[in-house]
């Protein structure tokens, strides 16, 4: 055995012994009920935000401004990553050979399944566990299995360019900002939900602005991560012959 494994085993044993002695000496009382703040959220979310789901209510209503700035951080990180590459798509067009027909067909089926699950996560995000972030990530997973199987060059020929993806992302972020800013017109605070947006339209519960936020956020996350996957799929050979570093 190498030294590293022995050190790891020693560390694990020390952790076990330390926690055992700490249990005997301290004998701590483990928490057995919900914290006060969480109780407030769980009890009042249906009245204050018209959403039965406390997590979405916290993400987009109670701490809505927080989440909007986090979306901005996400946007800047992705734009920074893409700007660092400055790739022309000629390098990507060289990679046109995907995998076999078998894997292409099965990927089509699997990607369709993932996309439908993602749609369910997004559109039910204000009623059941889920929302914009997980739904968008699920769509990104679908595109991440599509890109290696069908090859990035084929996708670009079909019209899926990273410029378009970043444009979708910018549009979704603008729409998200508009949804947040619209209540200011009537003199309410920014990111107001229930005092401005209706709780349901035509009998469909939409929980005010929460479903809109979920929709735009999922678009932004999905297009952003698809653009990243597209850029990261450039093979090194294509890069060397391409536009240069």
């Amino acid at each position: 055995m190498s030294r590293r494994i022995i050190i790891l085993i020693l560390l694990f044993t020390a952790t076990l012994i330390a926690s055992f002695t700490a249990t005997i000496i301290l004998n701590p009382a483990t928490p057995s009920e919900l914290k006060g703040l969480a109780k407030y959220y769980v009890l009042n979310t249906i009245n204050e935000t018209a959403s039965p789901e406390a997590v979405t209510a916290i993400v987009w209503d109670y701490r809505g401004l927080d989440t909007i700035y986090e979306t901005l951080v996400l946007y800047l990180a992705i734009v920074g990553g893409l700007a660092m590459f400055k790739m022309s798509e000629e390098a990507l067009l060289k990679t046109r050979i995907g995998l076999t027909l078998l894997s292409k067909t099965s990927t089509k089926i699997v990607a369709l399944l993932i996309a439908s699950i993602a749609a369910a996560i997004v559109f039910h995000g204000h009623l059941s566990p889920g929302g914009g972030f997980p739904g968008g990530s699920a769509v990104a997973v679908a595109s991440m299995i599509i890109i290696p199987v069908f090859a990035a060059g084929t996708l670009i020929e079909k019209g899926v360019s990273s410029t378009k993806l970043v444009a979708i992302r910018g549009a979704a972020l603008t729409a998200l900002g508009l949804v947040a800013l619209l209540p200011v017109v009537k003199g309410l605070e920014i990111v107001t939900n229930q005092r401005f947006y209706p709780a349901s339209i035509l009998g469909l519960p939409i929980s005010g602005s929460l479903s809109l936020y979920n929709l735009f956020e999922s678009l932004a996350v999905a297009s952003g991560f698809t653009a990243i996957a597209l850029y990261l799929s450039i093979p090194e050979e294509a890069h060397k012959g391409g536009s240069g570093a």
């Binding site: 926690s19 919900l34 009890l43 986090e70 090194e236």
Partner: protein, 136 residues
């Protein structure tokens, strides 16, 4: 006995999280390859996220998601006794996506450094890119 076991598991999880953070910080500081540093960073961020989730943990059975099943008064009482804490979930939800974006940014940087320096060894990258020799 059960109470002691509950307390032991509770402390053990905290200790293992601490150990995990320790090992990943070691990886970030002493790892030579930039890729291994990035892997350690993701382990550290996941450890922190698990710790945040663990802060909202409490013993109850069964645990249900913090979603209204029915709007009657009995449903409320059940939810307060059995719902999982929604606040850490909301924080972790955004934290995961932000972490993913930042990791992608770092990955872009590492790939670019590899293309310029033809290595991911942190010291050699600095040597090649700046011309300054790195000494221990």
């Amino acid at each position: 006995m059960v109470v002691v076991l509950e307390a032991f598991t509770y402390i053990l999880i905290i200790a293992v999280l601490g150990l995990n953070a320790l090992v990943s910080i070691y990886g970030i500081v002493y790892g030579r390859s930039l890729v291994k540093k990035l892997i350690s960073l993701t382990i550290l961020s996941d450890t922190v996220l698990v710790a945040v989730i663990f802060a909202g943990f409490y013993y109850a059975y069964p645990i249900v998601p913090p979603v209204y099943q029915d709007l009657a008064g009995a449903g409320r009482e059940f939810l307060v006794k059995h719902a999982s804490d929604p606040l850490p979930q909301a924080l972790v939800l955004t934290g995961i996506v932000i972490g993913l974006a930042v990791n992608a940014l770092i990955a872009f940087g590492i790939i670019q450094a590899y293309r310029l320096a033809k290595t991911t060894d942190a010291r050699k990258v600095v040597e090649v890119l700046s011309g300054v020799e790195v000494t221990e």
